[in-house]
Symmetry: D2
């Protein structure tokens, strides 16, 4: 019978955009049609975001992206000041980035397996990728331990993830952790559905053991913080990989100010890479033009790219990296603003 | 120039499963191939869930379902004891069900419009459906008002939605509100990403005005409650319309007990209706067999149906309704258990 | 080891639209959104085609439809004068309809099999459907035998399929053969890629044995005949199930007259049921509005339905059947015109 | 009002694989997951085909590929002996390659247009690409003229396309025509549904004017020729871009010999790039494992890549080009064999 070690042999290695200059290739694609041209236009828009000194860039992550070899792409974007805030599903941030920061790995697998056999080996499958369930349990438990060290009160996911970053300052076993790099560069990470991942298991453990006084995760605070950030930014652009809650949440933040009688400003730039179809009416595949009807996204610089992300996101990110316009750019260090008790939220007018 | 009223003319009307007996049609489909046979098998599995007295049925809702005319389908399932808990995106529960309960409507629209013109008319577009943005603002504000009446503390979304149900006891203007029916029948509704919808705007307003003492939404508590529910249930089955956070969240609850050293029990039945593709590796389209590797779903009674929901969910629900096995079934009234201070969570063993 | 007979147990049974009245259900769907409303609108357009006495209805079939239980749907449409011409892939007409007419069956299978094992058992798999390869070989050989009885010359696929119909007058073992019913009702069937199926194997055998004098299949003649038909018809409507060659071919026929300097008339009605995506730029998923730029399809009565066909085509066809407007309708018997040596093609003006 | 020239401004330019070395990028992708890894594996398999001196490579083309900027990719593969036969839809070969060879162009467009306006301007739209309908009419007419110069008899599409190549020897206005390069290198091009494109219009004109004696297109002969080719080849590999008739036809050729009692040999290598979904049961999205049940494709070296082709085909082709294994390879010049009256088809044994 197959053993666990038979399945966990070849580690996933992350794509390194600094080593692959795609500028000429993307320029050649700009003269084609269909997705190639769409990708080229999206790459150009992303480069415009990076070149626009007033623009804060919000990166949205949905889907199992980081386990698929895209972690270092995001890490490099953060390190080179090309991302000012992240909105993500929990799986990417906790089960995948934090998990690897603790020293665990993702492995090349295949979908042609018997999932009962996987179950017996305690291997979890993500399409064609394998991980050890026992490794993941360590990640869960670490979240619980971090929660146990904090003062019991409601936290935004952003605040809690900063605590995870603090934890990694000493404990990180890799050199490409997104959480740690964001912590250092004061790039806030929001996970609006934070219990929907390994963190949820950690909090379950924490709260079960501390039924009366415990850390809680206030997703309303997340929305308040991101709205506040969007109000302070002069311009905003969103680069969305996948759809789901991150897409919705980041778009909503553009219209949040209306609730308190303040002026709204649409996201000036918007890109989405997705294979979701608009025809089921769900948000994940809804066009960015539809978002315009909601006042969320302007349509001058918007582009959707019909592609699974592993193939296109590295090309787009490498394009912007090798165009070097990030060199003129500083980070906005939004976490500092959000953590600063002296910075008050603008007064509500209604 | 077009006026708002030009676009808001024909109201969406909800499909009524009690009027359409699909039993023979589904049985005919069971002898075909492809999606028709898959739908027939899923319908049979749902009927088995309903017939299994030990099984608590968790309905997951993602995508703009209720605005599309599926509200009454869910309402009828709840009313006839065919649903014991709901896990949903916020849009379905707040922007759509609560919104209509306040007396507002969704309208038949089209995707062939200029979204800038929509914006000017303050009409929000959901693919081919229109709503008035001003109506939606009333919904947002009502959430804020409800929050203002509550004792400041962290709430699970489930607890807060019960307060919305309480509000509707007096204020509901329709006879098919899911929130109100669930409130009456003690069917808990979980929205793990609760700030990701109209409710988020309400909380934004509430917290902005009450920066120090306010209601917060603890998504970790949601996960704790659903895990607790799954532990108390003898068997569980999940009927998933769409994927996203609800799919992940409801599946995770099956393995939550492991975190506290308790035995887990896979969901005995699992159905998903979705057009999401498994090939992008994201959870929404991942097969239920993949979920088996994670210990979440058993594979004896699992069925995915490749279909946009408006076409297939009514047929499946009508099948189970007209098979009448729900008549032998009582509700589990799980909200009562969750609200009862005497019912303690089972002791954590690790 | 598994034997062939283990896999070929449960026969596919065809959906019978005469037994399922979907009129009220479709009317209820017309008040919803997304695909349900699209299906309802498509059903209404199809009923308009049937009610329009001037309209010749061209049914296009691509995808493994008839093996999936849709054969009788098509048969009933032909029998009740709701189809005046068929354009199809070869698989549907030869491998599936002709195959069943010879007494063979399709079987319920599953995609969860080892295809090497299937190969060893000489079972061919169509997603979740099984057939016996030996049965299919008889179908191939019968085509060769029919070819051997004909005068060697180029035939349109339409002419050859009539010969298959003639063969079935005596040999047909079922009561729902499309080829036979079309033969009786003089409904022409065009298969523009006729060698791309079981017929291709038959012709391979025929021509290999008769290298000098043999039947050949002239696809150009097919196009000429269909263009001629469209010119003679007062109005045309196309009901497309799937895309591919049939969609392209039937649309092209609307602009064919331009080549000989004659006026063209766009298809007045057009419906397509497909899950193909427009974003890959291929014809199968291209919108009917795009077809308007080519002068092929008018946009007043056009509707695409995003659905796998087994679930939606029976509902649409049953709607039109039970609306009974076909009762006022006679067939156009276009094969008679095409076979009549006295009917000349209109003179070419350029 | 918009004029035609407003829409036809920026020409599509074709991707040049010789200028973009993707070897390191593809190698980096081989260590990731999902489509990136699939693309890397497919690229490796294609390089194996090229390195295998016994292997004849059949390239299948479906979808509007050449108009989208992929023409030069195919041209370069032919020129460097990496393709031994092509099976294609007619649009690619006639409406796009032949069309450009006559000096006409494709233009960058957009899908955000009014197709009625396009119609009025006589511009045909292919998703986001525009062409002049009048230019296309010249292409149609040229096919008719070529037909008029030939001896009236049935031709395989392959034979007729060679005549188009002969025409281009003198008339070609570009340096990257696939038809011309294939003519020079004796690479056969098969278009099994040859009337389903601009050629169909040309034949319509030709036959209409010559009702009694004319060129006809025998698709059965195409199948016979490709089967013959596959029997003469020691090994075969198929590189499929898109699905449709070319996929089916090229796969069928592997089992064609069975019809005449000869041994069959599965395609040793098989790659497909497509976004088609397997769940509708149609052939375009059917897995290559399903093809194994039919005896068409071996499963050792098979890989599907879930991607729209403009983004992935250039990367795959550039990988194999820059690996340089084609340098050791000569062309098989299969057209010479097919044209040689001395080469007889192997004797039929049944």
């Amino acid at each position: 019978m197959a053993k666990k070690s038979d399945f966990l042999k070849t580690q996933i290695e992350h794509f390194d955009i600094t080593k692959h200059n795609t500028v000429e290739m993307i320029e050649a694609m700009s003269k084609m049609s269909f997705s190639a041209r769409d990708l080229a236009r999206a790459s150009d828009i992303f480069d415009r975001m990076v070149s626009d000194k007033d623009c804060s860039i919000v990166l949205c992550l949905a889907g199992s992206l980081l386990s698929a070899g895209l972690k270092r792409v995001v890490y490099d974007l953060v390190r080179h000041n090309m991302v000012d805030a992240i909105v993500s599903t929990g799986a990417n941030i906790v089960d995948q980035d934090f998990f690897e920061a603790l020293g665990f790995k993702h492995y090349q697998g295949t979908k042609w397996v018997d999932d009962h056999e996987m179950r017996d080996c305690r291997i979890d499958r993500i399409y064609d990728t394998f991980i050890s369930e026992d490794d993941l349990a360590v990640s869960d438990a670490t979240v619980s331990r971090i929660a146990g060290t904090l003062k019991p009160r409601p936290y935004s996911s952003r605040e809690f993830i900063e605590e995870m970053g603090k934890h990694l300052v000493k404990k990180c076993k890799v050199n490409d952790s997104i959480i740690l790099e964001c912590f250092k560069k004061k790039v806030p990470i929001f996970v609006p559905a934070f219990s929907d991942c390994s963190a949820g298991f950690g909090f379950l453990h924490h709260q079960w053991h501390n039924p009366d006084e415990h850390v809680s995760i206030d997703s309303a605070k997340d929305f308040r913080e991101l709205t506040h950030l969007c109000m302070r930014a002069k311009e905003t652009g969103i680069l969305m990989i996948g759809g789901g809650v991150p897409k919705n949440f980041a778009q909503d933040a553009a219209v949040g100010p209306e609730m308190i009688g303040r002026d709204c400003r649409m996201h000036k730039y918007a890109i989405q890479i997705t294979v979701a179809d608009e025809r089921d009416g769900a948000l994940s595949g809804s066009t960015l033009r539809e978002a315009c009807s909601w006042g969320k996204v302007d349509t001058v610089y918007e582009q959707m790219v019909f592609s699974e992300a592993t193939m296109s996101f590295p090309l787009l990110a490498a394009y912007a990296y090798h165009k070097k316009n990030w060199k003129k750019r500083k980070g906005f260090r939004w976490s500092e603003m959000l953590n600063d008790p002296k910075v008050k939220e603008p007064k509500a007018l209604i």
